[in-house]
């Protein structure tokens, strides 16, 4: 009954949005919809709009104090977009990302801007960062730069092994999973099918393998002919349904967000 009510409410909020989807309507959904997954899809659909229309100060406020997780995520991603290419100083970025006292959302937003500096660093420096960084974001940034620089050295099997090895640092495994996602899509001779990716996003051995599959699955779902309505139904079905993993849900949530964002 609760599930049915959720579906009904979502349709009440989201259905009118099809006709006149706007940033305001997306914000309303991201803030008020009863289904968190729908909220998140609306939030993610707002990223480009926020990056283009909010000031840095506004984004910082929303990233740290937005009404819902969806709004905070949207603002964090938009802030990340704004900070790229803004000529921020390396030292400032390091101090932000590596400081546990800073809000996690701001640390996360600075990772991509920091990457432009980190890819110039030696592998040994990056190894130190992803192993000993003081925050999860710093360790992730170091690992992301390391894999970016060395991506041709790692084959699919190497990356899966890294994801499975519990002794590896968290950020290192997450960055490996992101590189692995690309390997699931290219080259075509070894690419996984949508079915295989769905299965792995649901039943992968750990969250990193599921995350890799989810990242790749998102691409295939967006490229599929699933309509906005199909995706809305799918995401709605996630509500309070424990049969789905977070990673599996994320692929469809992002796909719905992409459809909504395209209509803005």
């Amino acid at each position: 009954m609760r599930k049915a009510l959720g579906v009904l409410l979502v349709l009440l909020l989201a259905a009118p949005a099809f006709a006149t989807m706007s940033a305001a309507r997306l914000e309303e959904i991201a803030t008020k919809d009863v289904i968190p997954e729908i909220q998140m899809a609306a939030g993610l659909a707002l990223v480009d709009y926020y990056a283009a229309n909010k000031t840095e100060t506004e984004l910082k406020e929303l990233a740290t104090g937005g009404a819902t997780e969806a709004i905070r995520t949207a603002a964090t991603l938009a802030l990340s977009r704004v900070w790229i290419g803004k000529d921020l100083e390396y030292r400032d970025l390091i101090e932000l990302v590596n400081d546990p006292g800073q809000p996690a959302a701001l640390r996360a937003a600075a990772v991509d801007a920091l990457l432009e500096f980190l890819i110039e660093k030696k592998d040994s420096t990056l190894e130190t960062i992803y192993t000993l960084g003081r925050t999860a974001e710093m360790r992730y940034a170091g690992a992301k730069a390391y894999f970016f620089k060395n991506r041709s050295k790692f084959k699919l099997a190497d990356l899966e092994a890294i994801c499975l090895d519990d002794t590896n640092p968290d950020g290192y495994r997450k960055a490996a999973a992101e590189l692995l996602a690309g390997n699931y899509l290219f080259p075509p001779t070894t690419a996984k099918s949508q079915g295989e990716l769905e299965d792995q996003a649901l039943n992968g051995k750990n969250e990193y393998l599921r995350y890799a599959a989810s990242q790749a699955l998102f691409t295939l779902v967006v490229q599929s002919d699933l309509s906005e309505v199909d995706l809305l139904k799918k995401v709605t079905s996630f509500y309070l349904n424990e049969a789905f993993t977070e990673e599996y849900k994320d692929a469809y949530i992002r796909a719905l967000a992409a459809r909504w964002a395209a209509g803005l």
Partner: protein
């Protein structure tokens, strides 16, 4: 009422002005241009480049870090359609060829203006050829591709809008080759000793260096130089006098300009593209999985066409004029070069470096050229045993049992192999080659260096071995500056300009014969013989050729026809942005 009359007067004047100018109308939506649409104005195309330009003087530039920029500043009498690869009218609206094929008369568009507003006339064309291109003071490779039977054409003015070229012999690709940049007489004539005996002989070589004030650099291209900040940025802005219009009469280009962001290397360029700081990117094989995984999320697309190898070539060259006399002796032996060719494991390079997205290259002629003759080219397949045998034959053997082959005096035979640092694809190929050389006892000291430094070494004959690439085209004669013995880019043996080897003499002849006939089949035979001779003598050891691939943000329009021929910059005047305020996927203004 006076105001209305004044306005009408202005409109009439503008209208008459427009009628007086013989624009080239690009028929978007029709014929060859069917997939291109009328666009809207605004925005900058932002592209990455690895190195600073060395010069803004197009006819002197020999490296893409310069010519990618200068080619946007200039136009020629003719141009190559980026979709069809066919020659089309450009600054010349039409031409006539005499029955004997020796006289070509060009009729210029009237009413055109240079990027500084000065009028364009036949004087500019005559100055460009007689005062710059044919002027021996000027170190330009352009002369090499206009030569037939060792002679250059003559160029004369017929009237203000007509010029006549007279050739020593029929010249099949003349219309394609005559499309080089026309220079402004009003800015440069005084620097040419053809017109000013007191001019410094170096003046036309040093003019338009990278420290030149932008307004001094004047052209007929779609863009003009606005700003150069070394190690950071080159900014081009729309040439307000450009001479092409779309079918609705809108003057091209649509873009406000092009920004070349100097990024320093492929990794930085790739990251900037992913971050939405660049609009386009030519991915390396290792980039593709990452980009394909992110494309939908970030709003770009990745195009791959396995059926279309790129026009250029990648090769390993040994300096036959090497300052190290001992090395030179071996580098001049064809057996040595063939042994080295046997050590290029093309399949391993294709599989491991290009992830299958490349094809073996054996010929100096681009695979997409109609003159490509794969049936005759010599193929020294990967065969370390054959390489070892050849090395034994020429006396390069391991004398002291340390695993490395030695020179007759007992010292280790070793050479330095350079490529441009940051080009990870080339670095990987070099590493594979060096490893395979080591298997047969050849010691390779691999040392990647800065691109511009590498070009200086290459053109100054100060290297031992280099892996690098050349641009290409469908017309073999475009490579005359490379493959003729006196060509400006004959960098493996500049010394043979004076005394070419017999096969090289024949190649020089074949280059003459190939341009003198209008019979395609006959020309094909000449270029086939050229390919056979060149591949047998392996002055360049070709590696592999990647297929067409390109990544671009969806905000960029009129990209449907991107191809190996033109990629993005070949379409620069037709490109437009759905949202002019966006670069990549980011709103910037």
């Amino acid at each position: 009422m006076r105001k209305i009359l004044a306005l009408l007067g202005v409109l009439a004047l503008v209208s008459l002005g427009a009628l007086a100018q013989e624009y080239k109308v690009v028929p978007f939506g029709e014929g060859d241009w069917a997939n291109l649409t009328v666009g809207k104005y605004g925005g900058y195309l932002v592209v990455g480049t690895w190195n600073n330009p060395k010069t803004f003087n197009h006819h002197i530039a020999q490296e893409t870090s310069s010519t990618d920029i200068t080619s946007q500043l200039h136009a020629g009498l003719t141009e190559v359609n980026p979709i069809t690869d066919k020659v089309e009218p450009a600054l010349a609206k039409s031409w006539e060829i005499s029955e004997d094929g020796l006289t070509i008369t060009f009729h210029l568009r009237q009413g055109l203006q240079w990027s500084d507003g000065e009028p364009f006339t036949a004087d500019d064309v005559v100055f460009t050829f007689n005062g710059v291109i044919f002027n021996e003071d000027v170190r330009t490779d352009y002369r090499d591709v206009l030569m037939v039977e060792g002679q250059l054409p003559t160029c004369e003015k017929v009237d203000d809008y007509t010029v006549k070229f007279t050739l020593a012999a029929p010249f099949r690709p003349f219309l394609r080759q005559i499309g080089g940049a026309i220079y402004p007489a009003h800015k440069l004539k005084n620097l040419s000793r053809v017109y000013n005996p007191d001019a410094d002989p170096e003046a036309l070589n040093s003019v338009w260096g990278v420290d030149t004030p932008p307004e001094e650099i004047v052209g007929m291209g779609p863009f003009r130089l606005k700003e150069f900040i070394p190690d950071q940025l080159v900014v081009l802005e729309r040439n307000p006098y450009y001479w092409k219009v779309d079918p609705q009469g809108n003057r091209l280009p649509y873009l406000d300009g092009i920004k070349f962001v100097i990024v320093g290397g492929a990794d930085a360029e790739m990251l900037k593209f992913r971050n939405g700081e660049l609009d386009v990117y030519a991915p390396r094989p290792e980039d593709l999985s990452t980009l394909i995984a992110e494309a939908e999320q970030k709003g770009f697309e990745v195009r791959i066409d396995p059926t279309k190898p790129m026009f250029g070539t990648t090769w390993i060259v040994f300096n036959q004029d090497c300052p190290n006399e001992k090395l030179k002796e071996y580098f001049r032996m064809v057996e040595f070069r063939r042994a080295m060719a046997h050590l290029v494991d093309k399949q391993s390079i294709i599989d491991n470096v290009y992830l299958g997205l490349a094809v073996p290259q054996w010929s100096p002629v681009s695979i997409l050229s109609p003159f490509y003759a794969p049936e005759v080219v010599a193929k020294y397949e990967y065969d370390p045993d054959a390489a070892a045998q050849l090395l034994d034959q020429i006396g390069l053997v391991d004398q002291n049992g340390d695993g490395w082959r030695d020179l007759p005096d007992g010292t280790t035979f070793e050479f330095e192999l350079n490529t441009n640092v940051g080009n990870t694809v080339r670095e990987q190929i070099c590493q594979i080659f060096a490893d395979d050389c080591a298997k047969v006892g050849i010691k390779v000291n691999f040392n990647p260096i800065n691109f511009n430094a590498l070009v200086t070494k290459l053109l100054g004959s100060e290297y031992e071995a280099v892996l690098l690439g050349l641009t290409g085209s469908s017309e073999p004669n475009s490579g005359a500056n490379v493959y003729r013995s006196c060509g400006g880019l004959h960098f493996w043996r500049y010394s043979e300009c004076e005394n070419p080897r017999p096969f090289q003499q024949r190649i020089d002849e074949l280059y003459d014969l190939g341009v003198k006939t209008y019979d395609f089949d006959e020309a094909y035979q000449y270029y086939a013989e050229f390919q056979k001779l060149f591949s047998e003598n392996v002055d360049l050891i070709f590696t592999v050729n990647m297929v067409f691939r390109y990544a671009l943000y969806k905000n960029l329009k009129n990209t449907a026809e991107f191809s190996p021929l033109a990629q993005a910059l070949g379409f620069s005047e037709y490109l437009w942005k759905e949202n002019p305020n966006m670069v990549g996927n980011r709103v910037v203004g």
